[in-house]
Amino acid sequence: MHNRIRELRAKQDLSQLELAQRVGVRRETIVFLEKGKYNPSLRLAHDIAKLFGLPIEEVFLFDDEVLEA
């Protein structure tokens, strides 16, 4: 699974720590997500997408969707 967290975070000028604090996880979790080492729970994915004001499918993309794009 791929995600656009790094890109969206940069657009909103948010640090990893700020994003982590806003969605209630540790900074390490954001690092893992951005590196693609961890797939979040539905709850966390929802919270992150909501924070960026986007639907989940625009923040988190499955590998086949990335290939199609």
């Binding site: 720590l17 390490e28 979790t29 080492k37 797939n39 729970s41």
Partner: protein, 132 residues
């Protein structure tokens, strides 16, 4: 924070007990006792490491535990369990071929389990954990 403090207090008490054991002259330095001390030191070291990590999270106003840290612990535990089965199988195999006493072998097994868990935990932290 409460869990972090408890981790440090328990670690300090265990280390103090170990120090008393050594200083009071009950530690003779044979293989079995070295293994027992090693088990204690490895376990306390890991607990202190986790405690420091939680403390740093607390200072950064992050939760001390979240879904990733719980998942890492679960994954590391399950991996360590699988590997430990083979460790005990190996210990059973060598038990007939070695002069080590049963309690020394059990001590070695427990130390091995602690080390295996620590290595698994490091591995899961390094490579991540996906649901794929």
């Amino acid at each position: 924070m409460k869990r972090t403090i408890i981790t440090f207090v328990v670690s300090a008490l265990v280390l103090a007990t170990l120090a008393l054991w050594v200083l009071k002259g009950h530690f003779s330095g044979n293989t079995q006792e070295i293994l027992q001390a090693a088990v204690v030191i490895v376990l306390v070291g890991f607990a202190v490491f986790l405690g420091v990590s939680r403390l740093r999270s607390h200072l950064r106003r992050e939760p001390s535990e979240d879904e990733l840290s719980r998942k890492v612990m679960t994954r590391a535990s399950s991996l360590a369990y699988y590997i430990s089965i083979y460790l005990w199988l190996f210990i059973m195999y060598i038990s007939d071929k070695t002069s080590l006493a049963t309690h020394s072998l059990v001590g070695a097994g427990i130390l091995g389990m602690a080390v295996i868990f620590f290595v698994c935990w490091l591995g899961v932290k390094a490579f991540g954990t996906k649901n794929a």
